[in-house]
């Protein structure tokens, strides 16, 4: 049976609890929402003693379902002031599953802020808090290297770098990747690294379990048959998927010429240089010294990830994704892969969200802090965040605080979080999601993008609503790439769920569970003080037309606030 491990960071006690029966059948984002709803005061200080940071594996972690070894991290976000769930691939969720751990809850706050600990789960499943003061101020790559020396090459690590230790609102948690074992996978959004930092926990280190794990299937035979069918369907769709053949960077081929990619701090001006970033250029760049089609976790059959090596053939970065490229590239007038990959590496090492970082640098360029497109200056800003200079400490607080500091009238955020790689004027349904989701501006909460993205307001809102539900299902189950196939087989997914959890759900029940998930999150945020009138898209998107289409963001505020509804 799955376990919950509870760590009190003040008393240093560790307890292992059997699962609360009402939580059985919850995983990932759904379980995070339930825990936070039940255990955390929404009005608490995200970095205070009443906050908790929670790690939950997805519903089918460890079972061999495609892309199911996903780890959700959740807490009240210091960046948005609302509930946050950020999920990540890599090898940690599979390692937890091997130890039958579904969730880890870290609560309270140590009195002595000079202490630093790490959580260690050894091969026998024993859990301990170890002194980590030697690693204070160490960034993620070096920390992981140390952990590998100490506990073995195959160890899985979740950690924070200097950004998390310094309690930056823009701080990620990094997770080691399957295969390379470098900390290049990020639970990036919402500043959750700082929540772990506030507990004075450097990371979680997990050794592979010695004992073979037997998962509590209700009907193993049926589960295995359905798993095979679903996995096979993903293999088939991957054969022609650009995410599989190229990676998420393939998105640029569509959003670049369409002017939906953020450029020049979200002005949307299209530069000819966008051609430097198209799929063919991406493939030559990645495959020059590294490779694409890399699986970030065991059991991935899509392989949208990649390994980027430097000219000497040394690992530079991995999981080099569209969002990072868009925000740290064209949004800052930077159109060369080499620089963007270096920024990605800095961010992963220091523990910064690349979306927030790219948006912050764009705002700095707009404010004249550094020149547009200056690659050296952009890298220097990242460095300063890592070193904690005065400017670095300001930038680490995220795009909104930086924009306000420089009196910018073009701050691309919703609920304090930077808008990701799709201009809301070019995908109004996605803009509706940014403004209305409980997650702050977040494409993984439900994008509507694509060649058939509705331009009609009613259809865009309806599509956003449906996609917010689909993404809620995905966030409890697999990565989104797998959902691009599994989302069309929810009847079979429900049967798979039944074979695991001894239930009798159908596709409609999965949607109902997603609905409950979204409502729990909304309720948390309402209690935290969010108001419907806070559901806004920054004014400049309403005033300035997108150059490629001439369209402004024109979904009425009354629809964003929920005063009016579409039929």
């Amino acid at each position: 049976m799955w376990k919950t491990v509870r760590i009190n960071s003040k008393s240093k006690t560790i307890t292992t609890e059997d699962y609360n029966k009402t939580y059985v059948g919850l995983g990932g984002r759904g379980l995070i929402a339930q825990f936070l709803h039940d255990e955390v005061d929404p009005t608490c200080d995200p970095l205070g003693e009443d906050s908790k940071i929670i790690f939950c594996t997805s519903l089918f972690a460890g079972t061999g379902l495609v892309c199911a070894n996903r780890l959700s991290v959740g807490a009240k976000s210091p960046l948005t002031g609302g509930i946050k769930e950020s999920n990540v691939g890599g090898n940690a969720a599979a390692a937890f599953a091997e130890h039958n751990i579904r969730s880890i809850i870290i609560e309270n706050k140590p009195e002595n802020s000079n202490s630093l600990y790490m959580l260690f789960i050894n091969a026998d499943g024993n859990i301990s808090l170890e002194d980590a003061s030697t690693y204070e101020g160490m960034n993620n790559y070096e920390f992981v290297e140390n952990m590998q020396k100490l506990y073995g090459e195959k160890v899985s690590v979740i950690s924070i770098g200097n950004a998390g230790e310094r309690l930056y609102k823009n701080s990620s948690l990094q997770v080691t990747e399957f295969g390379t074992n470098y900390p290049c996978r990020a639970a990036g959004r919402g500043g959750l690294g700082s929540v772990l930092g506030s507990k004075r926990i450097k990371g979680i280190v997990i050794q592979k379990a010695k004992a073979k794990t037997e998962y509590p299937y209700a009907d193993k035979e049926t589960f295995m048959r359905l798993r095979k069918e679903l996995n096979q369907s993903v293999i088939e769709s991957s054969k022609t998927s650009p995410f599989s053949l190229v990676g998420t960077a393939s998105t640029i081929d569509f959003v670049g010429p369409a002017g939906i990619i953020p450029t020049h701090n979200f002005t949307g001006e299209i530069s000819d240089k966008i051609d430097n970033l198209k799929s063919d250029k991406f493939m030559s760049f990645v495959n020059k010294n590294g490779k694409n089609q890399h699986p970030c976790q065991a059991g991935c059959l899509i392989k949208c990830s990649n390994i980027v090596n430097d000219d000497q053939g040394n690992f530079l970065t991995g999981g080099f994704e569209y969002e990072t490229i868009a925000l740290c590239g064209p949004n800052c007038d930077i159109y060369d892969y080499e620089t963007i990959a270096k920024i990605d590496r800095y961010c992963d090492d220091i523990g910064l969200d690349t979306i927030e970082t790219g948006a912050t640098i764009g705002v700095c360029m707009d404010a004249g802090v550094i020149p547009w497109g200056d690659t050296h200056a952009a890298l220097d800003l990242c460095k300063q965040m890592g070193e904690g200079t005065d400017l670095g400490n300001l930038l680490g607080q995220g795009t909104e605080i930086v924009g306000k500091h420089y009196n910018s009238n073009r701050i691309p955020t919703c609920k304090g979080q930077a808008i990701p790689g799709y201009d809301p004027r070019g995908s109004i349904g996605t803009g509706f999601t940014y403004a209305t989701t409980s997650m702050g501006a977040d494409h993984t909460a439900g994008i509507t993008l694509g060649p058939d993205d509705p331009t009609d307001i009613e259809a865009a809102v309806a599509t956003s609503d449906t996609m917010q539900h689909i993404f809620a299902i995905a966030d409890s189950m697999t990565c989104m790439m797998a959902m691009a196939t599994l989302g069309g087989q929810l009847d079979k997914v429900a049967l798979l769920y039944n074979a695991m959890y001894d239930t009798e759900l159908n596709a409609g029940d999965l949607f109902a569970a997603a609905d409950k998930n979204l409502l729990l999150e909304k309720e948390f945020n309402e209690k935290a003080g969010w108001k419907p009138e806070d559901n806004v898209i920054p004014e400049f998107f309403r005033n300035e037309p997108l150059p490629s289409t001439g369209r402004k963001f024109d979904i009425p505020q009354s629809l964003l606030s929920g005063i009016d509804k579409v039929q």
Binding site: S237, D452, I470, G487, G508
Partner: protein
């Protein structure tokens, strides 16, 4: 008559949208393993409702690939 992605097809009695999509795949009208977002008469049908909602004579059905993004 059913119009599917701008092509006309003979009406088939008593099939759900999910079954209709499968028929379109079997006939190679639709060549995609991806999850789809379906609209019927301009109204989005939730991916969980396609197993219940029936196709009616005269329906206009459109399918687009479910967006997932980077």
């Amino acid at each position: 008559m059913i119009i599917f992605n701008n092509q006309e097809f003979e009406y088939i009695d008593n099939v759900t949208i999910s079954q209709f999509i499968q028929i379109m795949k079997d006939r190679k009208v639709l060549n995609s393993h991806n999850a789809l977002l379906i609209t019927k008469n301009n109204k989005l049908i939730s991916p969980s409702e396609i197993y219940i909602e029936k196709v009616k004579d005269g329906d206009i059905i459109n399918a687009r690939v479910m967006p997932v993004g980077g």
